[in-house]
């Protein structure tokens, strides 16, 4: 009696355990919890939807648009600055070329000026030299003429002196003629 009692008890126990295992086997299929889950799910989704659509998403969209605008503006500004830099470089190069041409012109001008001055100076010097040479020639001719005269005078005096020393009487006219003849000869 007791044995059968315990067996039935054990069987009932096992059955109970199995039933428990069955009911607790898949919590997903425990329909008694469904209303609870669905209610809290709907509440959660509504809260998320309102927070996102009213607050978060417009704010993020605004931030993204603002950032895009900032980046576009910055890129445009950078492009503009780049253009400016290119223009400045071009202006610099132009100025450089112009300055170089100017410098070349000035150098040529200076060279021409110097050449002209030099020519004038050379011509002046040439003229001076020519004048001086002419003057010298004239002086030389004068000196030469003076020398010839001095020679004839010395010769006449010497001849007259010689004649008087030899005891003659010098006839100036005869001496003159003789000296002239000797000098010519």
């Amino acid at each position: 009696m007791t044995t059968t009692n315990t067996t039935t008890e054990a069987v009932a126990d096992a059955a109970h355990g199995a039933a428990e295992a069955g009911s607790g086997g898949m919590p997903q299929l425990d329909f008694s919890t469904f209303p609870n889950q669905i209610f809290w799910l709907v509440v959660s989704l509504l809260v998320i939807y309102f927070v996102l659509s009213r607050v978060a998403l417009p704010r993020i969209a605004g931030t993204l648009a603002e950032r895009k605008g900032t980046i576009t503006n910055d890129l445009a500004a950078a492009e503009e600055l780049k253009q400016k830099a290119v223009a400045a470089e071009k202006a610099y190069n132009d100025a450089l070329v112009q300055a170089r041409a100017e410098a070349g012109k000035i150098v040529a001008q200076a060279r021409a000026d110097i050449q002209a001055d030099l020519n004038v100076a050379t011509a002046k010097a040439d003229a001076e030299i020519a004048a001086k040479a002419a003057e010298s020639e004239k002086k030389i001719a004068e000196i030469r003429a003076g020398a010839m005269e001095a020679v004839s005078a010395v010769a006449r005096d010497t001849a007259a002196e010689l004649v008087s020393v030899l005891g003659g009487k010098a006839d100036p006219a005869a001496v003159e003629a003789a000296v002239t003849a000797a000098l010519k000869g």
Binding site: A21, G25, T33, Q37, V51, A56, L57, R59, I60
Partner: protein, 260 residues
């Protein structure tokens, strides 16, 4: 308790309760679960909502042109989902972007928070995913008829198929249309539940080293397996949120443009 342990077939001391983590229990007290009872479902959904508010509402508060880290995360998620909606559902689908975004962030955050040890995962419950799946199904169906009227039925009528085949294709199309919410919701719940249950089964093997010498081999293997599956589950948590969202976009596209 003893009976339960025997029912689970392990007398040696290992406790296999892979499904206990899915149990819905009241947070306070031990009473029956009414629709308004505050349960672990409430707690973990509330945590997901809080995390979402933190990332998307609080994180975007600064409106910084150079974003902070958390702001960057919110903006990346925004861009990711917005691009998805626009690419799949078209330009006029962008109107429903907040709705799609709600689905995506709720599933993503519920999945991710569910991976915390000891947590509860709302998305592992068919009750939750079915409300999401069927709710969206009803929404797009109503939207389709409201936008296109009778032309919405053109979705089922393949005008470029041979005339004889069209009724047959229409029947198949109608059946596949009504299967959509079922697969949509079961895919999510099934993936999440399976992953969590497998992790729990491996976890149950981990204390074997305390009981038997074979545990010297089994315990490290099970710990390694948990680690690997955990990494996989992180991936699955994101991918399932992504898959659910992109399918929602596809259904939305069908409602907006049923012609093709």
């Amino acid at each position: 308790m003893a009976g339960e342990a025997e029912a689970h077939g392990e007398g040696a001391g290992l406790a296999f309760h892979p499904l206990d983590q899915f149990k819905v229990t009241p947070l306070f007290g031990d009473g029956p679960i009414e629709w308004y009872t505050i349960t672990n479902v409430t707690l973990w959904m509330a945590l997901a909502v809080l995390a979402i508010i933190l990332v998307f509402a609080v994180g975007s508060k600064g409106r910084a042109v150079v974003p902070t880290r958390i702001q960057s995360v919110g903006e990346m998620a925004y861009g990711f989902v917005y691009k998805m909606v626009e690419d799949v559902a078209g330009h006029d689908g962008a109107k429903f972007f907040p709705l799609i975004m709600t689905l995506f962030v709720f599933i993503l955050f519920a999945n991710m928070l569910g991976l915390l040890p000891g947590s509860f995962t709302p998305t592992s419950h068919i009750a939750v995913t079915a409300v999401l799946g069927f709710g969206f199904f009803i929404f797009v169906t109503v939207l389709g008829f409201a936008k296109n009227g009778v032309h919405f039925l053109g979705l089922f009528w393949m005008s470029d198929a041979p005339l004889i085949l069209r009724p047959i294709i229409a029947v198949i199309e109608v059946i596949s249309y009504f299967v959509r919410p079922v697969s949509h919701s079961i895919r999510l719940a099934g993936n999440i539940m399976a992953g969590h249950a497998v992790m729990k089964v491996f976890a149950a093997f981990a204390p074997l080293v305390l009981i038997s010498t074979i545990g010297v081999v089994v315990t490290p293997v099970s710990i390694l397996a948990i680690t690997a599956i955990y990494a996989l589950e992180v991936l699955v948590a994101f991918i399932q949120a992504y898959v659910f969202t992109i399918l929602a976009c596809v259904y939305l596209k069908d409602a907006l443009h049923p012609g093709h």
